[in-house]
Every structure is written in C-alpha cells, then in structure tokens.
C-alpha cells in the first residue's frame, strides 16, 4: 500500500509498504531516518519514541497504515541544522550517553516532558521516562541531563 505522511515538516510518500510494517521500519528502512532505534519491537523500551500528531509514541507499535495523513516528528527533527535542541545539548554535557542506543528515544521523551512541564520534579521526570529503558543503566546522568535542560530552559525564558 501507499502511505503519505508528514515527517519533520516534509510531505513524504512510501510505496509498496507491507501492511505489517511499523512506522519505525518505514522511517529507518524506507525514508532514510535511522535516528529512531529498533530494539525491543514491542513498546517496552522506548528507543523508537517519536512524536505522532504531537504526542510521543513508540514507532514500533504503530502500523504503517495508522500514520496515513498524520504528522510525525522524529529525533532528527528536533535540532535546527547543527544547532542542537537544548535537551540534546544537555545530554551531551551531562554525559548522559553511554552506548547511545536509548538516547534518541530518551531525548524525544524528555523534550516532550519539558514542553508540558517546564520545571519537573524528580518523580515527574522518572514517570515521564518510565517507558524508556537504558540497558547501560546510566539513569543518573540522564536525570542530570533533564534537570540541566530544565534549568537552562528556565534561565533562557527569563533572558527573553
């Protein structure tokens, strides 16, 4: 089947898509967007987290047909060219990246949290990231990164 979907602001079309394919497969294998990672393929690990119509979902649990006519924003769509999103910069600076496989999904989940809750408490951060597993178990630095991004966002807002 044919799937038309807006991805990171661009109209994209995929042809000869198998009905059993996931949005994740389409992104990675058909549309040249390998940022979203393929790990558990059952919605447990969050490595494939993308925005679908502005809310984060697991792309591995979205059938290709379900995205027809909808808007997707992937981790590739967060930065403006080389200018990283503050959440991405905070992950780099806090050392929140070990093997890196969970990072794209965590960045999207944290990005969504900070849009909704600019100054989250630790329990709020933990719950917001509960659907994202880090097999390196590097959670402390990940929490540091989210706190850093929140602080930065708050001081940036004041500066403006």
């Amino acid at each position: 089947m044919r799937v038309n979907v807006t991805i990171n602001g661009d109209q994209r079309q995929a042809d000869d898509v198998w009905e059993g394919e996931s949005l994740l497969y389409m992104l990675r294998e058909r549309l040249g967007l390998p940022g979203s990672k393929n790990a558990c393929e059952q919605g447990e690990c969050g490595s494939c987290t993308v925005y679908l119509d502005d809310v984060p979902v697991c792309a591995c649990l979205v059938a290709a047909g379900q995205c027809q006519g909808r808007e997707v924003r992937t981790v590739e769509g967060l930065a403006a060219g080389d200018d990283l999103d503050p959440v991405q910069r905070s992950f780099v600076e806090a050392g929140a990246v070990q093997c890196g496989f969970c990072t794209p999904g965590l960045v999207v989940a944290a990005h969504d949290l900070l849009r909704r809750v600019p100054e989250p408490s630790d329990p709020e951060i933990r719950e917001a990231l509960a659907g994202n597993l880090c097999r390196c178990t590097g959670y402390e630095k990940i929490l540091d990164a989210v706190r850093l991004a929140a602080t930065r966002q708050a001081s940036g807002a004041e500066a403006r």
Partner: protein, 327 residues
C-alpha cells in the same frame, strides 16, 4: 506476522460491516496490544479495519453521566478534569497503566479488549486453552505467580490485565456498542466473561460489534474513590494486586460502597459480598477486615500465587482506611 489486508472505516456502520463480513477481521484503534499479539502469532487476522477516523474521541458530562468516546486515548482521559474530579479511581487507574508512550496511543475501547499477559498464552510454543481450545493449561501446575485466584476454572487461570476495567466495574460503567444487530448498552459487570469451559471467549461482544463509548453514572461514591495498584516495580508494570474503591460515608456509616479488584481474577472482579459487609455499618478496622475476608472467599491459590490472597486484603484495608479517614 502473517499477511493481512488494511481497510479504513469512515463511519461506525462501515466499520461494523468491514469486520462483520469477514470472520478473520478485527478492528484496530491504538493497536498497542493487537500488533504485539499479531507479531507473537498469538492472534492472526486477515483484515484489519482502522477505526481511528471515526469521531469517537469526545469526553463530555451532563444529565448525571460522564460519556467517554471509545477512541479517546488513555492519557487524555486520565488527565481530563471531569474524570479527575468525578471519577478519581478511573483517572488513577489510567495513569498507573503502561508507559507514557503507550497511554498516548492506546484507546479506551481497546484497553477493555486487551488480552491476558499470561506467558503461556503469548508463547505460541506452549499449550493454552485460550489460544487453542482443548490444548491444556500449563499455568495451573507451572509458572503461576501472576495468575488469578478468583473466577478461575480447570481450563484457565489467566489474570485479566486491565487497570481501567477494574475502575470501571467499580463505578457501574455501561459499555455502548454498535454491531451487526444494532446498538447495545452493556452493563460493565456483564461485559467480561470468566473462562469457565470457554476461556477463548473473554467478553460478550459478537463478531463485528464495535465499542463506541462508555457511560459512567455520576455518584457521590464515585467522586470519592481511589485506585491502589501494587506491582513489582514502581511504574510501567502490570498489577500484582489492585483495588478500586468508591465510598460514600454519612458520618461514620457507610451509605454506599463499591469494591473491585485486579490482578487476582480472570476478569475485572467486583465483590458485592465485601460491599454488603460494609454497607450500613460504621467504617472501622474490624469491619474493613471482615470485608477483606469476604472479598477473597472461595479463592483458589496455586503454588506461586497464594500470597495474593493476603496481599489484596491488606491493599483493601489501606485504601478503605485512607478513603474513610479511619485510623
């Protein structure tokens, strides 16, 4: 995953016909359980009918009811102000379910139809009476820590996994459907089926019948309600045991109470026996303990899940003490 045809419905009648016409067809809303079941091979379909285009996402209240469209997402319903204020038990059950990503995708109607997390059911290499009727139930003498102690049969002891359904049975929700034989209103207590001799039948829906919404009656008890979920880790985990309680006190006396349980039963489990122990009595620790004993009367423990019988009574005790302000 086996090959299937993907169809889109433009209105409920379309959806009902597209599934009703084909024995192997089913609906897809969020798909968060269906797609995993199809990947695992625990369920196969030759046609999937996407109902996400139907206008069934509204949440509204008036005339003594809260109405929730079947396609409203778990996250939206859980966070909705009227749900939080009038049905805290429902909001709490939703927000204690799954992960943020899954709650953003999964629909209310689909949540009620999710299949059990019994490992033997999900594993096509195992026998399972629910998946292949007559093949046997390895859980009865096998790994059954997560399994049910109430509503069980010799054919199946799989626990029902939904938190939402436990909260809905506690507030006397009604399931609204549209099917090949027209519209129906199904009281929540009649919706799910205990396994009995036919564990493959989990609810009373006929083939092609679509859940279009829920109706929740506004009551004083529902407005003072609570969901307690005990699990093996703090979040993103199914209930070991859970309690949904709604309580209306007049002074210290129980005017109205609704009690339902998850993790311990083969379907969302309402205990009118436990409610009867409390109704009209002063709420105190002795009465609460008696209600707990009534709730687990007739429970059948297995090798690894007997602890649930004690645990659920303690969970009930905690909820009623908190809700009722009993020290």
């Amino acid at each position: 995953m086996k090959n299937f045809e993907y169809a889109r419905a433009n209105n409920p009648a379309d959806a009902v016909r597209l599934v009703g016409d084909r024995p192997g067809a089913t609906f897809i809303a969020g798909g968060t359980d269906l797609l995993n079941l199809m990947k695992d091979g625990a369920q196969t379909h030759d046609r999937i009918v996407d109902v996400n285009g139907l206008a069934l996402t509204d949440i509204s209240h008036g005339n003594g009811f809260l109405r929730v469209g079947a396609l409203a997402r778990m996250a939206d319903v859980g966070a909705h102000r009227a749900v939080r204020e009038k049905f805290p038990v429902v909001s709490q059950a939703l927000l204690a379910s799954a992960s943020p990503q899954v709650r953003n995708m999964a629909s209310i109607g689909g949540n009620l139809l999710q299949r059990t997390r019994c490992g033997y059911f999900r594993d096509t290499g195992s026998a399972c009476n629910k998946r292949i009727p007559g093949s046997g139930c390895p859980a009865i003498d096998g790994e059954n820590r997560g399994h049910a102690v109430l509503g069980v049969s010799d054919h199946c002891i799989a626990a029902h996994p939904s938190d939402l359904a436990v909260s809905l049975i506690a507030v006397d929700a009604v399931v609204l459907t549209n099917g090949p034989h027209g519209e129906r209103r199904i009281p929540f207590g009649d919706f799910h089926l205990a396994p009995g001799d036919t564990p493959e039948r989990e609810n009373v829906l006929t083939h092609g019948e679509l859940i279009v919404g829920l109706e929740l009656p506004l009551t004083p008890a529902a407005a003072k309600s609570q969901y307690l979920k005990l699990r093996d880790r703090a979040t993103f985990e199914f209930a070991v045991v859970s309690v949904a309680a709604a309580l209306d006190l007049r002074g210290r006396t129980v005017n109205d109470v609704r009690l339902a349980f998850g993790g311990i039963a083969t379907k969302p489990w309402r205990s009118t026996d436990a409610e009867a122990v409390l109704r009209g009595r002063a709420l105190d620790t002795a009465t609460i303990d008696a209600a707990g004993r009534a709730a687990v009367h007739g429970a059948i423990p297995r090798a690894h899940n007997a602890f649930k019988i004690d645990l659920v009574q303690r969970a009930l005790s905690r909820v009623l003490h908190e809700l009722g302000g009993v020290r």
